[in-house]
Amino acid sequence: AQSVAQPEDQVNVAEGNPVTVKCTYSVSGNPYLFWYVQYPNRGLQFLLKYITGDNLVKGSYGFEAEFNKSQTSFHLKKPSALVSDSALYFCAVRDPDTGRRALTFGSGTRLQVQP
């Protein structure tokens, strides 16, 4: 079975500081990994994904994530956070070896960026 863990319910950071939102996963094979962001009363917006290739993936709004197979992690990072980045962030995984396309989401991490 595939699963995702986001160990932090909330991350607080001052504007302009770097931010990391943590995600670890568990799949039997090689994972497909995704980050989505959810603003209040809005849908899930796709940020970035790792399928194969370079372990460092760059996405929307200046976010990037690093796939680390040995640590089974896919942490989301941004060098300089903005107040407008405050939102709920979800990590998701799919195990392509299962043939299933459904995503399994983590519990979400709320990012709060203070001015």
Binding site: G43, F46, F90
Partner: protein, 114 residues
Amino acid sequence: AAGVIQSPRHLIKEKRETATLKCYPIPRHDTVYWYQQGPGQDPQFLISFYEKMQSDKGSIPDRFSAQQFSDYHSELNMSSLELGDSALYFCASSLVLAGEETQYFGPGTRLLVL
């Protein structure tokens, strides 16, 4: 760029009533997914369709059914509604045939069961 459209955006129903949620995928996308997000919860996969055929099934109650029509839009039918069905229901679409892995989500339908 066109996005996934869901209607209605908000729905209030009484217990034991029925509800129908509609989803219009991104044009040319061949796969539709339905997810349920309870209050303070992560999205949970319900069901998906590829080229109008059910392709996968998750934790969808027997009271719910869904289908994808010839124009690729999808409907989630919910009967005998319970208080616990109150949630945000997301539809997502992707273009599986092109090997595209990204699922693009709609804004969701917020269902409140009283």
